[in-house]
Symmetry: C2
Subunit: 424 residues, 2 copies
Amino acid sequence: MESMLQRVVRQAAEAGLTQNITLATNASQLDIITNQLGEKVSIVTEPVRRNTFPAIALAASYLSMKKHCSDDEVVVIMPCDPYTEAEYFHVIGRMVRCVEARVADLVLMGITPTYPSAKYGYVVPRPNVQHMETQAVDYYDVARFTEKPTVAVAEELLKENAFWNGGVFAFRLGYMMDIVRRYFCAESFEETRARYDEFPKISFDYEVAEKAQSVAVVPFVGEWKDLGTWNTLTDELSQHAIGNAVIGPKCENTHVINELQHPIFVDGLKDVVVAACPDGILVCAKKETENIKAYVEPLATRPMYEERRWGNYRVLDDTRYPDGSHSLTKSITLMPGKHISYQRHHCRTEVWTIVGGEGVLVLNGQVRSVHPGDVVSIPQETWHAIRANTQLTFIEVQFCSHEQGGQLTEEDIERTEWDWNGRS
Amino acid sequence: MESMLQRVVRQAAEAGLTQNITLATNASQLDIITNQLGEKVSIVTEPVRRNTFPAIALAASYLSMKKHCSDDEVVVIMPCDPYTEAEYFHVIGRMVRCVEARVADLVLMGITPTYPSAKYGYVVPRPNVQHMETQAVDYYDVARFTEKPTVAVAEELLKENAFWNGGVFAFRLGYMMDIVRRYFCAESFEETRARYDEFPKISFDYEVAEKAQSVAVVPFVGEWKDLGTWNTLTDELSQHAIGNAVIGPKCENTHVINELQHPIFVDGLKDVVVAACPDGILVCAKKETENIKAYVEPLATRPMYEERRWGNYRVLDDTRYPDGSHSLTKSITLMPGKHISYQRHHCRTEVWTIVGGEGVLVLNGQVRSVHPGDVVSIPQETWHAIRANTQLTFIEVQFCSHEQGGQLTEEDIERTEWDWNGRS
């Protein structure tokens, strides 16, 4: 099994494009990306989610000020979720050559449409193809952009040989840094990141592409599937039900993806996606799935499932009681050889019941092995860490009484080092 | 707040019908009914779910053989889920007088239809109303039954003055017992219950009502809502979203009832009900909700939430591990003054973390008080019980290792008595 991200990074490497990929992502994705790609990959994390322009501005600042890339270096921005083939990466190579040859400030990839979709943005080229003799690259100058048209308008756009905008952009780093400095001139990458909320919440398409004086588009013909919305993702699923789910006989074109233990039954639905995971349950007409962000964001509370460098956890229960106490129950799994940091909490007790695997526990400097069935009681202020020998799962009950503040927080943690090799 | 069942029992008592109600239900509902109606109510539990004929046959056997009611006693069968008014119970009184006057073997209530519904069964009367002078009761002889017709057929039925079949039946006990004895002649109620699976899986309507030689119907005119299907229940809800749920702007006539902690977002749906509880998640076109039983039954595993005499529990997690062990995590709440029985398990350990309330714990005969934050480790073979002083919640982690059998079962329990007054 290979993730979307692992596949794209592998394909870029196989195309000989670069080994030098920087990932721009939200801080919450850091551990899962490190797990998938290893420790060596460069990751720029946005402190809060804004939009694609601020994220790309931050990544460009990182390359310029942290990695000290020159202004003439060509940067390619691409999404991590296209399902595509090798030719796509060869087109990226051509886009880079266009920027190097200064045919335009900004060069886009144009996906050759296979049908008049209303799901995508369109790039409308000027009529005549340009040929760059020295590089053997064909490109078009861009006349205009059109965001998600109706199907009727899309049919007209196809007659103009318009392309889908696949969100792949190439430019010289200096070009982007000039735009970044319109907002503020930072002395360092750290300053840029600290002032991240001074960037407007706007997409790269609106802020840069549509305002650019000189834009070219290099066509790509081939397999390309956008896995970025439920609507397009479900098109690629080979099964209608994934996980503990049953689809009734009166359903049409309906998909259920269930990561919960609770069974799901659906019937009488048409063109609907049901997606259930610990963070929430989505039931949505496929054509509406692009518009859910604004509604779903207020529903998010604390993360209910997270992948970490050491493994993952799932929140089983989060309850406040009439006497003012608060408990949080998690199932925590550590991968073999991994450990959680040596830590203590000031305002909570924890109880661990080992339910699977073998490990080594440190409790206030005392080391012992733990086995399934063992119970570990961790009063507040007690230093503790645990390492998995085999894949290790325990149920953790966090408890904060009214007297302790009645409020469990992720911030109530003090960490220090434990020398696993030297002392255990 | 009053449950459906509490309301119906109160209304029957207010109408002066009887204080002598026997409830026929599934064994799994026993504790929740006792909690709602108290210890004094008669309850007949079917050992497995079959259908309405076997359930009514069992209840009739209970009245005949356990309560020693005479064959001439009039029995009224009614569902527990109509939302209706006092007049309904007065009509039941008239039905009883019809049976007493022997106008028919079986007397039904006919709900006067308010629209040509395709959701209900219909009772078609003979044209001329009968008037029982002595009792001042009007009734009709029944010509035939029609199950859930199309709307067009229902319109024709309304022209024939047909009634909805509300599932309310009255008969002499001896009439029903004659039918019961066609299957087997039991010596006792206990024998009948033990041989319950010899009754066919068939509804009372098909097995009794449609075959009866002499059937009368007494009309009811008034408010009557069937809360027995999601389709009819959601008609009566004042809010579209109950629990942690948001309904998007592109929904029409869509209801969400969410008893889970996970948030639910729905959009782009029309005439759909989403119902989520620990036992499972239903997403269904309202018009299909009557037909889900056959699909949903195979999805049920163990109960994920149960109300008991002492309180309730919720299953938070149920997982088997690669090393062959099994863990089950529950949140258990005891009502003030209630206790769980003194018990031990042969094949599992339990760990309780008290998270809310105060209580008294017994562990191998030793009594102590417990408070939030306390941890109780219960090895296998250890006798244990707990009583709540205030509402008491604890997180229970059940654990069964590969060596202990690797299979947690509800049957692994040995109970004895603990004298809470004498010894604690």
